[in-house]
Protein backbone atom coordinates (compact mmCIF):
# COMPACT_ATOMS: atom_id res chain seq x y z
CA UNK A 1 0.00 0.00 0.00
CA UNK A 2 1.34 3.37 -0.94
CA UNK A 3 2.16 5.75 1.83
CA UNK A 4 -0.65 8.26 1.29
CA UNK A 5 -1.83 11.14 3.45
CA UNK A 6 -4.44 9.20 5.35
CA UNK A 7 -2.18 6.26 6.15
CA UNK A 8 0.61 8.65 7.09
CA UNK A 9 -1.60 10.45 9.57
CA UNK A 10 -2.58 7.14 11.09
CA UNK A 11 1.04 6.05 11.37
CA UNK A 12 2.00 9.46 12.75
CA UNK A 13 -0.73 9.16 15.39
CA UNK A 14 0.59 5.75 16.41
CA UNK A 15 4.10 7.20 16.83
CA UNK A 16 2.72 9.75 19.25
CA UNK A 17 0.69 7.07 21.04
CA UNK A 18 3.88 5.11 21.66
CA UNK A 19 5.90 8.15 22.70
CA UNK A 20 3.33 9.57 25.08
CA UNK A 21 2.30 6.17 26.48
CA UNK A 22 5.87 5.52 27.51
CA UNK A 23 6.51 8.99 28.85
CA UNK A 24 3.36 8.67 30.95
CA UNK A 25 4.50 5.21 32.13
CA UNK A 26 7.85 6.72 33.15
CA UNK A 27 6.03 9.49 35.01
CA UNK A 28 3.88 6.90 36.78
CA UNK A 29 6.99 5.14 38.09
CA UNK A 30 7.75 8.30 40.08
CA UNK A 31 4.20 8.23 41.42
CA UNK A 32 4.65 4.64 42.51
CA UNK A 33 1.82 3.39 40.33
CA UNK A 34 4.05 1.56 37.86
CA UNK A 35 6.48 -0.77 39.56
CA UNK A 36 9.24 -2.94 38.20
CA UNK A 37 11.36 -1.68 35.36
CA UNK A 38 10.62 -0.23 31.95
CA UNK A 39 12.59 -0.51 28.73
CA UNK A 40 11.38 2.35 26.59
CA UNK A 41 11.08 2.45 22.84
CA UNK A 42 11.16 6.26 22.59
CA UNK A 43 13.29 7.24 19.61
CA UNK A 44 12.64 3.97 17.76
CA UNK A 45 8.92 4.47 17.02
CA UNK A 46 9.24 4.68 13.25
CA UNK A 47 10.31 1.04 12.98
CA UNK A 48 7.36 -0.61 14.71
CA UNK A 49 4.74 1.54 13.04
CA UNK A 50 6.28 1.27 9.57
CA UNK A 51 6.57 -2.51 9.74
CA UNK A 52 3.19 -3.14 11.34
CA UNK A 53 1.50 -0.93 8.75
CA UNK A 54 1.97 -3.86 6.35
CA UNK A 55 0.52 -6.50 8.66
CA UNK A 56 -2.91 -8.00 8.84
CA UNK A 57 -4.63 -8.75 12.14
CA UNK A 58 -3.85 -12.45 11.73
CA UNK A 59 -0.12 -11.93 11.10
CA UNK A 60 2.15 -12.71 14.01
CA UNK A 61 4.41 -10.30 15.88
CA UNK A 62 7.01 -11.29 18.46
CA UNK A 63 9.00 -8.75 20.38
CA UNK A 64 11.71 -8.07 22.86
CA UNK A 65 12.06 -6.64 26.34
CA UNK A 66 11.46 -3.26 24.65
CA UNK A 67 8.11 -3.94 23.06
CA UNK A 68 5.51 -1.35 24.09
CA UNK A 69 5.91 0.09 20.61
CA UNK A 70 5.43 -3.22 18.82
CA UNK A 71 2.26 -3.94 20.79
CA UNK A 72 0.68 -0.53 20.21
CA UNK A 73 1.64 -0.55 16.53
CA UNK A 74 0.07 -4.01 16.07
CA UNK A 75 -3.14 -2.82 17.70
CA UNK A 76 -2.99 -3.88 21.32
CA UNK A 77 -5.53 -1.88 23.38
CA UNK A 78 -3.67 0.87 25.26
CA UNK A 79 -5.87 0.79 28.36
CA UNK A 80 -5.16 -2.89 28.96
CA UNK A 81 -1.43 -2.27 28.41
CA UNK A 82 -1.45 0.55 30.95
CA UNK A 83 -3.39 -1.65 33.37
CA UNK A 84 -0.73 -4.34 32.95
CA UNK A 85 2.02 -1.87 33.85
CA UNK A 86 -0.06 -0.90 36.88
CA UNK A 87 -0.27 -4.58 37.84
CA UNK A 88 -4.06 -4.75 37.58
CA UNK A 89 -6.23 -7.78 36.76
CA UNK A 90 -7.56 -6.04 33.66
CA UNK A 91 -4.02 -5.87 32.25
CA UNK A 92 -3.15 -7.58 28.97
CA UNK A 93 -1.58 -10.41 30.97
CA UNK A 94 -3.79 -10.08 34.07
CA UNK A 95 -0.84 -8.70 36.06
CA UNK A 96 1.21 -11.86 35.51
CA UNK A 97 3.60 -10.53 32.88
CA UNK A 98 4.32 -6.84 33.24
CA UNK A 99 6.21 -4.67 30.80
CA UNK A 100 8.70 -7.31 29.68
CA UNK A 101 6.10 -9.99 28.88
CA UNK A 102 3.28 -7.87 27.58
CA UNK A 103 1.27 -9.75 24.98
CA UNK A 104 -2.11 -9.66 23.30
CA UNK A 105 -3.02 -12.91 21.63
CA UNK A 106 -6.29 -11.49 20.29
CA UNK A 107 -4.11 -9.40 17.92
CA UNK A 108 -1.58 -12.24 17.40
CA UNK A 109 0.94 -10.26 19.41
CA UNK A 110 2.66 -13.30 20.90
CA UNK A 111 4.55 -11.37 23.44
CA UNK A 112 7.41 -9.24 24.47
CA UNK A 113 10.27 -11.47 25.55
CA UNK A 114 12.71 -11.00 28.39
CA UNK A 115 15.35 -13.21 26.80
CA UNK A 116 17.53 -11.52 24.21
CA UNK A 117 16.84 -13.31 20.88
CA UNK A 118 14.17 -15.33 22.69
CA UNK A 119 11.51 -14.53 20.12
CA UNK A 120 13.49 -15.49 17.03
CA UNK A 121 13.00 -19.26 17.27
CA UNK A 122 9.32 -19.05 18.18
CA UNK A 123 8.73 -16.40 15.51
CA UNK A 124 10.27 -18.70 12.94
CA UNK A 125 8.02 -21.42 14.37
CA UNK A 126 4.85 -19.42 13.84
CA UNK A 127 6.00 -19.06 10.24
CA UNK A 128 6.49 -22.81 10.05
CA UNK A 129 2.89 -23.19 11.24
CA UNK A 130 1.74 -20.91 8.42
CA UNK A 131 3.67 -23.03 5.94
CA UNK A 132 2.24 -26.32 7.23
CA UNK A 133 -1.27 -24.90 7.20
CA UNK A 134 -0.66 -23.31 3.80
CA UNK A 135 -1.98 -20.01 5.08
CA UNK A 136 -0.44 -16.74 3.88
CA UNK A 137 0.07 -15.33 7.37
CA UNK A 138 3.48 -13.82 7.89
CA UNK A 139 5.47 -13.47 11.10
CA UNK A 140 7.59 -10.53 12.20
CA UNK A 141 10.24 -10.88 14.87
CA UNK A 142 11.69 -7.72 16.33
CA UNK A 143 15.00 -7.91 18.17
CA UNK A 144 17.93 -5.70 19.10
CA UNK A 145 21.48 -5.68 17.80
CA UNK A 146 22.54 -7.61 20.90
CA UNK A 147 20.45 -10.58 19.78
CA UNK A 148 22.62 -11.01 16.68
CA UNK A 149 25.34 -12.39 18.94
CA UNK A 150 23.17 -15.21 20.24
CA UNK A 151 22.82 -18.74 18.90
CA UNK A 152 19.04 -18.65 18.52
CA UNK A 153 19.45 -15.76 16.05
CA UNK A 154 21.67 -17.88 13.84
CA UNK A 155 19.65 -21.05 14.27
CA UNK A 156 16.41 -19.20 13.59
CA UNK A 157 17.72 -17.61 10.39
CA UNK A 158 19.06 -20.97 9.25
CA UNK A 159 15.67 -22.67 9.69
CA UNK A 160 13.82 -19.73 8.19
CA UNK A 161 15.95 -19.79 5.09
CA UNK A 162 16.18 -23.60 4.84
CA UNK A 163 12.42 -24.01 4.68
CA UNK A 164 11.67 -20.61 3.04
CA UNK A 165 9.42 -19.59 5.87
CA UNK A 166 7.25 -16.44 5.77
CA UNK A 167 9.10 -14.50 8.42
CA UNK A 168 10.64 -11.02 8.57
CA UNK A 169 13.52 -10.53 10.98
CA UNK A 170 13.67 -6.90 12.06
CA UNK A 171 16.82 -5.93 13.91
CA UNK A 172 16.50 -2.62 15.74
CA UNK A 173 20.13 -1.66 15.96
CA UNK A 174 20.22 1.14 18.51
CA UNK A 175 23.98 0.92 18.90
CA UNK A 176 24.08 -0.28 22.47
CA UNK A 177 23.79 -3.68 24.09
CA UNK A 178 22.51 -2.50 27.41
CA UNK A 179 25.53 -0.36 28.43
CA UNK A 180 28.06 -1.47 25.86
CA UNK A 181 28.45 0.17 22.47
CA UNK A 182 27.97 -2.34 19.70
CA UNK A 183 31.33 -1.41 18.18
CA UNK A 184 33.07 -2.85 21.28
CA UNK A 185 31.51 -6.29 20.98
CA UNK A 186 30.64 -6.85 17.33
CA UNK A 187 32.89 -7.82 14.43
CA UNK A 188 30.65 -6.74 11.60
CA UNK A 189 29.16 -3.31 11.70
CA UNK A 190 25.88 -4.07 10.01
CA UNK A 191 23.71 -6.87 11.26
CA UNK A 192 22.20 -7.01 7.78
CA UNK A 193 25.50 -8.39 6.50
CA UNK A 194 24.87 -11.54 8.47
CA UNK A 195 21.97 -12.41 6.18
CA UNK A 196 24.45 -13.51 3.53
CA UNK A 197 25.47 -16.49 5.67
CA UNK A 198 21.92 -17.74 5.48
CA UNK A 199 21.33 -16.91 1.84
CA UNK A 200 18.51 -14.46 2.52
CA UNK A 201 18.22 -10.77 1.63
CA UNK A 202 19.73 -8.44 4.22
CA UNK A 203 18.68 -4.79 4.13
CA UNK A 204 20.02 -1.97 6.26
CA UNK A 205 17.90 1.15 6.54
CA UNK A 206 17.77 4.35 8.56
CA UNK A 207 15.40 3.50 11.34
CA UNK A 208 14.58 7.15 11.98
CA UNK A 209 13.34 7.52 8.44
CA UNK A 210 9.82 6.18 8.38
CA UNK A 211 9.60 6.10 4.62
CA UNK A 212 12.77 4.01 4.38
CA UNK A 213 11.61 1.45 6.91
CA UNK A 214 8.17 1.38 5.33
CA UNK A 215 9.67 0.58 1.94
CA UNK A 216 11.97 -2.14 3.19
CA UNK A 217 9.20 -3.77 5.19
CA UNK A 218 6.79 -3.59 2.27
CA UNK A 219 9.12 -5.63 0.11
CA UNK A 220 9.98 -8.10 2.88
CA UNK A 221 6.37 -8.74 3.82
CA UNK A 222 5.36 -9.21 0.21
CA UNK A 223 8.22 -11.61 -0.38
CA UNK A 224 7.25 -13.60 2.71
CA UNK A 225 3.62 -13.71 1.70
CA UNK A 226 4.58 -14.99 -1.73
CA UNK A 227 6.34 -17.91 -0.02
CA UNK A 228 9.81 -16.80 -1.04
CA UNK A 229 11.25 -16.86 2.44
CA UNK A 230 12.61 -14.52 5.06
CA UNK A 231 14.29 -11.14 4.93
CA UNK A 232 16.60 -9.62 7.51
CA UNK A 233 16.04 -5.90 7.95
CA UNK A 234 18.44 -3.87 10.02
CA UNK A 235 16.97 -0.53 11.11
CA UNK A 236 19.60 1.78 12.54
CA UNK A 237 18.10 3.69 15.40
CA UNK A 238 18.69 5.20 18.82
CA UNK A 239 17.13 4.97 22.24
CA UNK A 240 16.32 8.36 23.72
CA UNK A 241 16.22 7.04 27.27
CA UNK A 242 18.65 4.64 28.92
CA UNK A 243 18.53 0.88 28.67
CA UNK A 244 16.00 0.66 31.46
CA UNK A 245 14.78 2.56 34.48
CA UNK A 246 17.60 4.12 36.50
CA UNK A 247 20.27 3.81 33.81
CA UNK A 248 23.06 6.29 34.70
CA UNK A 249 24.02 6.46 31.02
CA UNK A 250 27.71 6.87 31.72
CA UNK A 251 28.52 5.05 28.49
CA UNK A 252 27.27 7.82 26.20
CA UNK A 253 27.55 11.59 26.17
CA UNK A 254 24.78 14.08 26.81
CA UNK A 255 25.70 15.71 23.49
CA UNK A 256 25.14 12.48 21.61
CA UNK A 257 21.68 12.04 23.12
CA UNK A 258 20.76 15.69 22.53
CA UNK A 259 21.90 15.50 18.94
CA UNK A 260 19.68 12.48 18.23
CA UNK A 261 16.72 14.02 20.05
CA UNK A 262 17.15 17.32 18.25
CA UNK A 263 18.01 16.16 14.76
CA UNK A 264 17.08 12.51 14.49
CA UNK A 265 13.75 12.25 16.29
CA UNK A 266 11.61 10.04 14.02
CA UNK A 267 8.43 11.84 15.01
CA UNK A 268 9.86 15.26 14.20
CA UNK A 269 11.31 13.96 10.96
CA UNK A 270 8.06 12.34 9.86
CA UNK A 271 6.03 15.39 10.87
CA UNK A 272 8.24 17.56 8.69
CA UNK A 273 8.09 15.01 5.87
CA UNK A 274 4.27 15.08 5.95
CA UNK A 275 4.10 18.82 6.22
CA UNK A 276 6.38 19.15 3.22
CA UNK A 277 3.73 17.23 1.28
CA UNK A 278 0.88 19.27 2.74
CA UNK A 279 -0.42 16.07 4.41
CA UNK A 280 -0.37 17.56 7.87
CA UNK A 281 -1.23 21.04 9.04
CA UNK A 282 -0.11 22.56 12.35
CA UNK A 283 -3.68 22.47 13.63
CA UNK A 284 -4.04 18.82 12.69
CA UNK A 285 -0.70 18.05 14.32
CA UNK A 286 -1.89 19.67 17.53
CA UNK A 287 -5.27 17.95 17.33
CA UNK A 288 -3.58 14.56 16.93
CA UNK A 289 -1.42 15.16 19.99
CA UNK A 290 -4.39 16.40 22.00
CA UNK A 291 -6.41 13.34 21.08
CA UNK A 292 -3.53 11.01 21.99
CA UNK A 293 -3.04 12.78 25.32
CA UNK A 294 -6.73 12.25 26.08
CA UNK A 295 -6.35 8.55 25.24
CA UNK A 296 -3.40 8.34 27.63
CA UNK A 297 -5.43 9.95 30.41
CA UNK A 298 -8.26 7.49 29.77
CA UNK A 299 -5.86 4.56 29.94
CA UNK A 300 -4.45 5.76 33.27
CA UNK A 301 -7.95 6.20 34.67
CA UNK A 302 -8.84 2.71 33.45
CA UNK A 303 -5.75 1.27 35.11
CA UNK A 304 -6.32 3.14 38.36
CA UNK A 305 -9.90 2.00 38.60
CA UNK A 306 -9.07 -1.64 37.87
CA UNK A 307 -8.74 -4.17 40.68
CA UNK A 308 -5.45 -5.41 42.05
CA UNK A 309 -4.97 -9.17 41.86
CA UNK A 310 -5.94 -11.30 44.81
CA UNK A 311 -3.61 -13.82 46.44
CA UNK A 312 -5.40 -16.84 44.96
CA UNK A 313 -4.62 -15.57 41.42
CA UNK A 314 -1.00 -16.62 41.92
CA UNK A 315 -1.82 -20.31 41.39
CA UNK A 316 -3.79 -19.98 38.17
CA UNK A 317 -2.44 -20.01 34.59
CA UNK A 318 0.49 -22.33 35.30
CA UNK A 319 -1.26 -25.05 33.32
CA UNK A 320 -4.70 -25.21 31.78
CA UNK A 321 -6.50 -26.43 34.89
CA UNK A 322 -9.74 -27.07 33.06
CA UNK A 323 -8.25 -29.54 30.63
CA UNK A 324 -8.92 -33.26 30.97
CA UNK A 325 -7.73 -35.73 28.38
CA UNK A 326 -10.49 -37.43 26.47
CA UNK A 327 -10.28 -40.52 24.32
Amino acid sequence: MTLNAELSRRIYTDMWRIRLFEEEALRQTSLGSVKGTLHTYCGEEAIAVAVCAHLRDDDYVLGTHRSHGHCLAKGAPMDRMMAELFGRTTGSCRAKGGSMHIADFSRNILGANGIVAGGIGPGTGTALASKIRKSDQVSVVFFGDGAAARGPFHEGLLFGSLWKLPVIYVCENNGYQQWVPRRNVAVVDSVADMAASYAIPGVSVDGQDLEAVYGAAEEAVARARRGEGPTLIEARTYRFYGHSLGDMEEYRSREEVDDWRENRDPIKLFSAWMKERQWLGDDEDEAIQTEVKAEIVRSVTYAEESPLPSPEDVMTDVLDDEWRVSA
Binding site: S92, L110, G111, G156, W323
Partner: protein, 323 residues
Amino acid sequence: MRTIALRDALREALHEEMARDDSVFVIGEDVIAHGGPYTVTQGIVDKWPERIFETPIAEAGIVGLGVGAALAGMRPVVEIMYVDFITCAMDEVVNQAAKMRYMTGGQASVPIVIRLPCGPARLVAAQHSQIMESWFMHVPGLQVVAPSTPYDAKGLMKTAIRSPDPVAFFEYKALYVSEGEVPEEDYVIPFGKADIKREGEDATVVAIGGMVPRALEAGIALEDEGYDIEVVDPRTLAPLDMETICESVRRTGRVVVCEMDSSFAGTGAEIAAALAEQCFHDLRAPIVRVGSPHVPMPFAEELVNVTVPDAKAVANAVRKVMA
Protein backbone atom coordinates in the same frame (compact mmCIF):
# COMPACT_ATOMS: atom_id res chain seq x y z
CA MET B 1 -3.62 -59.15 23.21
CA ARG B 2 -0.64 -58.63 20.93
CA THR B 3 2.78 -57.86 22.34
CA ILE B 4 4.95 -55.08 20.91
CA ALA B 5 8.09 -53.18 21.87
CA LEU B 6 7.96 -49.80 23.59
CA ARG B 7 9.37 -47.98 20.57
CA ASP B 8 6.67 -49.56 18.40
CA ALA B 9 4.03 -48.41 20.86
CA LEU B 10 5.36 -44.85 20.65
CA ARG B 11 5.39 -45.01 16.86
CA GLU B 12 1.83 -46.28 16.84
CA ALA B 13 0.73 -43.43 19.12
CA LEU B 14 2.37 -40.90 16.79
CA HIS B 15 0.76 -42.36 13.70
CA GLU B 16 -2.66 -42.48 15.32
CA GLU B 17 -2.46 -38.91 16.57
CA MET B 18 -1.20 -37.59 13.23
CA ALA B 19 -4.12 -39.29 11.51
CA ARG B 20 -6.51 -37.89 14.09
CA ASP B 21 -5.31 -34.28 14.11
CA ASP B 22 -3.80 -32.32 11.19
CA SER B 23 -2.01 -29.96 13.55
CA VAL B 24 0.33 -32.68 14.83
CA PHE B 25 3.76 -32.66 13.20
CA VAL B 26 7.19 -34.09 13.88
CA ILE B 27 10.46 -32.16 13.98
CA GLY B 28 13.94 -33.28 14.93
CA GLU B 29 17.32 -34.53 13.85
CA ASP B 30 17.39 -37.61 11.58
CA VAL B 31 13.67 -38.19 12.05
CA ILE B 32 13.19 -39.17 8.40
CA ALA B 33 16.31 -41.24 7.86
CA HIS B 34 15.61 -44.57 9.58
CA GLY B 35 12.81 -42.87 11.50
CA GLY B 36 15.40 -41.56 13.93
CA PRO B 37 17.99 -43.61 15.76
CA TYR B 38 15.22 -45.36 17.67
CA THR B 39 12.88 -45.81 14.66
CA VAL B 40 10.04 -44.11 16.52
CA THR B 41 9.24 -41.74 13.63
CA GLN B 42 9.48 -44.41 10.95
CA GLY B 43 6.80 -44.38 8.29
CA ILE B 44 5.57 -40.86 8.95
CA VAL B 45 7.27 -39.37 5.93
CA ASP B 46 5.42 -41.81 3.68
CA LYS B 47 2.01 -40.81 4.96
CA TRP B 48 2.50 -37.15 5.84
CA PRO B 49 5.57 -35.81 3.99
CA GLU B 50 4.56 -32.22 4.75
CA ARG B 51 4.31 -32.81 8.48
CA ILE B 52 7.75 -34.14 9.28
CA PHE B 53 10.83 -31.92 9.40
CA GLU B 54 14.36 -33.22 9.49
CA THR B 55 16.52 -30.46 10.89
CA PRO B 56 20.04 -29.13 11.07
CA ILE B 57 21.81 -29.98 14.34
CA ALA B 58 20.45 -26.96 16.13
CA GLU B 59 18.49 -27.86 19.24
CA ALA B 60 17.68 -24.29 20.28
CA GLY B 61 16.23 -23.72 16.85
CA ILE B 62 14.32 -26.99 16.86
CA VAL B 63 12.66 -26.37 20.21
CA GLY B 64 12.26 -22.64 19.53
CA LEU B 65 10.43 -23.36 16.29
CA GLY B 66 8.34 -25.93 18.07
CA VAL B 67 7.32 -23.39 20.70
CA GLY B 68 6.34 -20.86 18.03
CA ALA B 69 4.37 -23.39 16.00
CA ALA B 70 2.60 -24.48 19.18
CA LEU B 71 1.77 -20.84 20.00
CA ALA B 72 0.24 -20.65 16.53
CA GLY B 73 -1.99 -23.65 17.26
CA MET B 74 0.09 -26.54 15.95
CA ARG B 75 1.00 -29.61 18.00
CA PRO B 76 4.70 -30.26 17.42
CA VAL B 77 6.31 -33.49 18.58
CA VAL B 78 9.98 -32.64 18.92
CA GLU B 79 12.64 -35.32 19.07
CA ILE B 80 15.90 -34.48 20.83
CA MET B 81 18.26 -37.32 20.00
CA TYR B 82 19.66 -37.56 23.51
CA VAL B 83 18.27 -35.77 26.53
CA ASP B 84 21.82 -34.53 27.16
CA PHE B 85 21.43 -32.26 24.12
CA ILE B 86 18.39 -30.49 25.51
CA THR B 87 20.76 -28.36 27.54
CA CYS B 88 21.44 -26.55 24.24
CA ALA B 89 17.77 -25.54 24.20
CA MET B 90 17.05 -24.94 27.86
CA ASP B 91 16.02 -21.33 27.25
CA GLU B 92 13.40 -22.49 24.78
CA VAL B 93 12.13 -25.13 27.22
CA VAL B 94 12.22 -23.12 30.42
CA ASN B 95 11.82 -19.46 29.48
CA GLN B 96 9.67 -19.86 26.40
CA ALA B 97 7.60 -23.07 26.52
CA ALA B 98 7.08 -23.46 30.26
CA LYS B 99 6.48 -19.87 31.33
CA MET B 100 4.49 -18.60 28.37
CA ARG B 101 1.01 -19.42 29.66
CA TYR B 102 1.70 -17.81 33.03
CA MET B 103 3.54 -14.74 31.72
CA THR B 104 0.70 -13.96 29.37
CA GLY B 105 -1.95 -14.37 32.02
CA GLY B 106 -3.34 -17.53 30.48
CA GLN B 107 -3.47 -16.28 26.88
CA ALA B 108 -0.82 -18.64 25.55
CA SER B 109 -1.16 -22.37 25.11
CA VAL B 110 2.03 -24.24 24.18
CA PRO B 111 0.99 -27.78 23.22
CA ILE B 112 4.48 -29.07 22.50
CA VAL B 113 5.79 -32.57 23.24
CA ILE B 114 9.55 -32.81 23.64
CA ARG B 115 10.68 -36.40 23.33
CA LEU B 116 13.79 -37.02 25.40
CA PRO B 117 15.52 -40.36 24.91
CA CYS B 118 17.47 -40.81 28.10
CA GLY B 119 19.45 -43.03 30.39
CA PRO B 120 22.36 -45.37 30.06
CA ALA B 121 22.49 -47.84 27.18
CA ARG B 122 25.31 -49.05 24.97
CA LEU B 123 28.19 -47.48 26.96
CA VAL B 124 28.04 -44.02 25.44
CA ALA B 125 29.33 -42.29 28.58
CA ALA B 126 28.68 -38.93 30.15
CA GLN B 127 27.21 -36.83 27.34
CA HIS B 128 24.79 -39.43 25.96
CA SER B 129 23.46 -41.17 29.05
CA GLN B 130 21.91 -38.64 31.37
CA ILE B 131 18.31 -38.66 32.60
CA MET B 132 17.58 -35.24 34.15
CA GLU B 133 13.89 -35.66 34.94
CA SER B 134 14.21 -33.62 38.12
CA TRP B 135 15.54 -30.63 36.17
CA PHE B 136 12.22 -30.46 34.35
CA MET B 137 10.08 -31.28 37.37
CA HIS B 138 11.50 -28.20 39.00
CA VAL B 139 10.16 -25.87 36.30
CA PRO B 140 6.56 -24.77 36.86
CA GLY B 141 4.54 -25.07 33.68
CA LEU B 142 6.14 -28.29 32.45
CA GLN B 143 4.59 -31.72 32.57
CA VAL B 144 7.06 -34.57 32.98
CA VAL B 145 6.25 -38.05 31.76
CA ALA B 146 8.36 -41.22 32.11
CA PRO B 147 6.66 -44.41 30.90
CA SER B 148 8.05 -47.81 31.81
CA THR B 149 5.93 -50.13 29.67
CA PRO B 150 4.77 -50.18 26.04
CA TYR B 151 1.17 -49.86 27.25
CA ASP B 152 1.94 -46.73 29.27
CA ALA B 153 4.14 -45.34 26.50
CA LYS B 154 1.33 -45.38 23.95
CA GLY B 155 -1.38 -44.08 26.26
CA LEU B 156 0.80 -41.36 27.75
CA MET B 157 2.14 -40.24 24.37
CA LYS B 158 -1.38 -39.77 23.08
CA THR B 159 -2.29 -37.77 26.16
CA ALA B 160 0.90 -35.72 25.80
CA ILE B 161 0.07 -34.81 22.21
CA ARG B 162 -3.46 -33.77 23.16
CA SER B 163 -2.33 -31.74 26.17
CA PRO B 164 -2.59 -27.95 25.83
CA ASP B 165 0.64 -27.50 27.82
CA PRO B 166 4.25 -28.52 27.23
CA VAL B 167 5.34 -32.05 27.99
CA ALA B 168 8.88 -33.36 28.57
CA PHE B 169 8.50 -36.98 27.52
CA PHE B 170 11.31 -39.17 28.87
CA GLU B 171 12.01 -42.33 26.90
CA TYR B 172 14.47 -44.69 28.56
CA LYS B 173 16.66 -45.97 25.75
CA ALA B 174 17.17 -49.24 27.57
CA LEU B 175 13.41 -49.83 27.46
CA TYR B 176 12.83 -49.20 23.74
CA VAL B 177 13.01 -52.90 22.90
CA SER B 178 11.21 -54.12 26.02
CA GLU B 179 7.94 -55.72 25.08
CA GLY B 180 4.48 -55.72 26.52
CA GLU B 181 0.81 -55.96 25.69
CA VAL B 182 -0.62 -52.94 23.87
CA PRO B 183 -4.19 -52.61 22.64
CA GLU B 184 -4.57 -51.71 19.00
CA GLU B 185 -7.39 -49.31 19.68
CA ASP B 186 -7.27 -45.70 20.81
CA TYR B 187 -6.77 -45.16 24.54
CA VAL B 188 -5.27 -42.44 26.71
CA ILE B 189 -3.75 -42.43 30.18
CA PRO B 190 -4.45 -39.30 32.21
CA PHE B 191 -1.48 -37.49 33.71
CA GLY B 192 -1.06 -37.63 37.49
CA LYS B 193 -2.25 -41.21 37.90
CA ALA B 194 0.32 -43.61 39.30
CA ASP B 195 0.07 -47.28 38.47
CA ILE B 196 0.66 -50.17 40.84
CA LYS B 197 2.80 -52.46 38.76
CA ARG B 198 2.90 -55.17 41.40
CA GLU B 199 0.75 -55.51 44.46
CA GLY B 200 2.40 -56.48 47.71
CA GLU B 201 2.06 -55.99 51.42
CA ASP B 202 5.48 -55.82 53.05
CA ALA B 203 7.12 -52.74 51.51
CA THR B 204 6.40 -50.14 48.84
CA VAL B 205 8.95 -49.59 46.10
CA VAL B 206 8.37 -46.40 44.15
CA ALA B 207 10.18 -46.93 40.85
CA ILE B 208 10.61 -44.43 38.04
CA GLY B 209 10.95 -45.20 34.34
CA GLY B 210 13.81 -47.59 33.72
CA MET B 211 13.84 -48.68 37.35
CA VAL B 212 10.39 -50.24 37.10
CA PRO B 213 11.49 -53.50 35.43
CA ARG B 214 14.42 -53.66 37.85
CA ALA B 215 12.09 -53.23 40.82
CA LEU B 216 9.82 -55.95 39.44
CA GLU B 217 12.83 -58.22 39.03
CA ALA B 218 13.82 -57.47 42.62
CA GLY B 219 10.25 -58.25 43.63
CA ILE B 220 10.56 -61.77 42.26
CA ALA B 221 13.96 -62.30 43.84
CA LEU B 222 12.70 -61.08 47.22
CA GLU B 223 9.82 -63.55 47.16
CA ASP B 224 12.36 -66.21 48.08
CA GLU B 225 13.03 -64.33 51.30
CA GLY B 226 9.35 -64.01 52.03
CA TYR B 227 9.19 -60.27 51.26
CA ASP B 228 6.25 -59.26 49.12
CA ILE B 229 6.88 -55.79 47.71
CA GLU B 230 4.46 -53.43 46.08
CA VAL B 231 5.87 -51.58 43.04
CA VAL B 232 4.33 -48.18 42.37
CA ASP B 233 5.16 -46.48 39.07
CA PRO B 234 4.24 -42.76 39.19
CA ARG B 235 4.27 -42.69 35.34
CA THR B 236 4.15 -38.89 35.36
CA LEU B 237 6.50 -36.97 37.63
CA ALA B 238 4.75 -33.65 37.11
CA PRO B 239 1.97 -33.85 38.00
CA LEU B 240 2.98 -36.36 40.66
CA ASP B 241 0.38 -38.70 42.16
CA MET B 242 1.43 -38.61 45.81
CA GLU B 243 -2.02 -39.83 46.78
CA THR B 244 -1.51 -43.30 45.35
CA ILE B 245 2.06 -43.46 46.65
CA CYS B 246 0.99 -42.44 50.17
CA GLU B 247 -1.95 -44.84 50.12
CA SER B 248 0.45 -47.69 49.39
CA VAL B 249 2.98 -46.58 52.00
CA ARG B 250 0.27 -46.30 54.64
CA ARG B 251 -0.58 -49.94 53.95
CA THR B 252 2.97 -51.30 53.97
CA GLY B 253 4.68 -48.91 56.39
CA ARG B 254 7.97 -49.23 54.54
CA VAL B 255 9.22 -47.54 51.39
CA VAL B 256 12.12 -47.53 48.95
CA VAL B 257 12.25 -44.81 46.29
CA CYS B 258 14.21 -45.76 43.14
CA GLU B 259 15.43 -43.71 40.26
CA MET B 260 18.16 -44.40 37.76
CA ASP B 261 19.48 -40.84 37.90
CA SER B 262 21.73 -39.43 40.62
CA SER B 263 19.69 -39.39 43.81
CA PHE B 264 21.23 -36.11 44.97
CA ALA B 265 18.51 -33.44 44.63
CA GLY B 266 16.69 -35.86 42.40
CA THR B 267 13.21 -37.11 41.73
CA GLY B 268 13.39 -39.50 44.64
CA ALA B 269 14.33 -36.66 46.95
CA GLU B 270 11.05 -34.93 46.20
CA ILE B 271 9.06 -38.12 46.68
CA ALA B 272 10.89 -39.01 49.89
CA ALA B 273 10.37 -35.51 51.29
CA ALA B 274 6.67 -35.56 50.46
CA LEU B 275 6.38 -38.99 52.08
CA ALA B 276 8.12 -37.73 55.20
CA GLU B 277 5.63 -34.86 55.35
CA GLN B 278 2.53 -36.88 54.63
CA CYS B 279 3.19 -40.41 55.93
CA PHE B 280 5.75 -40.02 58.72
CA HIS B 281 3.56 -41.65 61.34
CA ASP B 282 2.79 -44.59 59.07
CA LEU B 283 6.44 -45.40 58.48
CA ARG B 284 7.93 -48.27 60.41
CA ALA B 285 11.44 -47.76 59.00
CA PRO B 286 13.33 -44.80 57.58
CA ILE B 287 12.78 -44.12 53.87
CA VAL B 288 15.58 -45.50 51.67
CA ARG B 289 16.48 -44.03 48.29
CA VAL B 290 18.09 -45.93 45.44
CA GLY B 291 19.84 -44.04 42.68
CA SER B 292 23.17 -43.42 41.00
CA PRO B 293 26.03 -41.88 42.92
CA HIS B 294 26.54 -38.20 42.11
CA VAL B 295 28.93 -38.70 39.19
CA PRO B 296 28.71 -38.21 35.42
CA MET B 297 28.08 -41.48 33.60
CA PRO B 298 31.41 -43.25 33.14
CA PHE B 299 32.39 -45.21 30.04
CA ALA B 300 33.87 -48.56 31.09
CA GLU B 301 31.32 -51.26 31.75
CA GLU B 302 32.88 -52.05 35.12
CA LEU B 303 32.28 -48.45 36.19
CA VAL B 304 28.81 -48.24 34.68
CA ASN B 305 27.82 -51.38 36.59
CA VAL B 306 28.62 -49.74 39.91
CA THR B 307 26.95 -46.48 38.88
CA VAL B 308 23.55 -47.49 37.58
CA PRO B 309 21.35 -49.18 40.19
CA ASP B 310 20.15 -52.66 39.25
CA ALA B 311 17.62 -55.11 40.67
CA LYS B 312 20.13 -56.15 43.34
CA ALA B 313 20.39 -52.57 44.57
CA VAL B 314 16.63 -52.41 44.86
CA ALA B 315 16.53 -55.74 46.70
CA ASN B 316 19.24 -54.59 49.11
CA ALA B 317 17.31 -51.42 49.85
CA VAL B 318 14.18 -53.46 50.54
CA ARG B 319 16.16 -55.67 52.95
CA LYS B 320 17.26 -52.50 54.70
CA VAL B 321 13.72 -51.22 55.24
CA MET B 322 12.56 -54.68 56.28
CA ALA B 323 15.32 -55.12 58.87
